[in-house]
Symmetry: C3
Subunit: 165 residues, 3 copies
């Protein structure tokens, strides 16, 4: 693959992820829908807990949500009574073809109440992702969140699971 | 615009913002002056408080400071008795022409006492910026800081406002 | 130097540092060895304490570790009873030749117990680094960690020094 084309795709995917975080945190949920492919998959099974070294899983299991519309319904519902801060770090992107790429991006999030003061969750981890050029733009095709730690600072927030939605 | 020229400008503007943060936090205020255009504008009206969802503004209103010299005076005065950590995330840059660009960069800051231990402020938000190629280098022409949260951990620090300067 | 070659080197070095953090935090110490040059030098003398403004150094002095194998032994030993989160921000890279580059990257780390809950250290600072193209890939040739703050939240973790190793 041509090196300039590859660098352009990497920059566009970095900006895609920038928009994902910014739309999420500024509660622009309509804008946020545009970052996902129509058939996107969001795997949050490891997003709400943590695996101690040499121990076993602690925490809730989040859902696997399939399809852009279902993902956006899930995000709107989960954050109806909460706000968020999501920061992404050191995005590692591999371009696999003119229309396919994959990558890992480290993350930190702070979930708070609507007053932006009440602390609910503080976590860090990685998004493991696939990207696809669809309808003229790079979008998130698959994303899976894993955690290095996930501190629940209040019981007032929970990840909506298939059973609770 | 040529794609390689555009990527070069994006990389130079990312490094510009890296220098902004690094010069600020290592208290290299002479270096820091070089990141601003001569007629730069720093809008901090939303930099020292926060807007709850569905509520109204809480916190002080910072100043709008005009011109590189006035900006540097303001920063030196504000941080005379404080140190800082500023981190930038997921810089989204659009190059508008050979000499103009704009962008948004997420941020987190920790303001502390001179001992680097006493916690004064912890906040997160976004810088909304315009950049201009001036005197041979990309520099910040306009920047406005908005907040997702801004926790005041002590009353020992305040943003200097037009009334207090 | 050709601009496209320079941008490619910058992107590869950003991904190199992304792997450094990710291998470290996911405890992939075999993968982590690959990010260092054979004769790499890790200067941690300023990594475990802090210099107050107008004051004198507070904290332990970490070691200077020479050679990839010694660096990996030191890291494995230091983190035997701990986990970590390392985030990198606003990587500023200058490519000096086809095989040499240098840069600064801001950082934040959280060191915790193996349960990923017990807080041991929280710090921020900068890595000052040299990179070299060796055996077909960019790798870290020299790195020195400096701190803006370094909060020890427990005495249960210490940087292994030449005396203690």
């Amino acid at each position: 693959m041509d090196n300039l084309v590859r660098l352009l795709a990497i920059e566009e995917i970095k900006q895609l992820k920038g928009r994902y975080f910014r739309f999420m945190d500024t509660r622009d949920f309509d804008g946020m829908a545009s970052v996902f492919c129509k058939n996107a998959v969001f795997d949050c099974t490891e997003g709400a807990g943590v695996l101690p070294v040499g121990g076993s899983w602690k925490g809730e299991r989040g859902p696997i949500v399939r399809g852009r519309d279902a993902i956006m319904d899930w995000i709107r519902d989960s954050f109806r009574d909460a706000t968020s801060v999501h920061h992404g770090h050191c995005h590692e992107i591999t371009v696999d073809s003119a229309t396919e790429a994959h990558g890992v991006i480290a993350m930190e999030d702070h979930i708070r109440g609507l007053n932006r003061e009440t602390r609910l969750v503080h976590g860090v981890g990685h998004y493991h992702e696939r990207y696809r050029l669809e309808d003229g733009a790079w979008r998130i095709a698959e994303t899976k969140l894993t955690r290095l730690f996930c501190d629940w600072q209040s019981q007032d927030f929970r990840v909506l699971t298939p059973e609770t939605t």
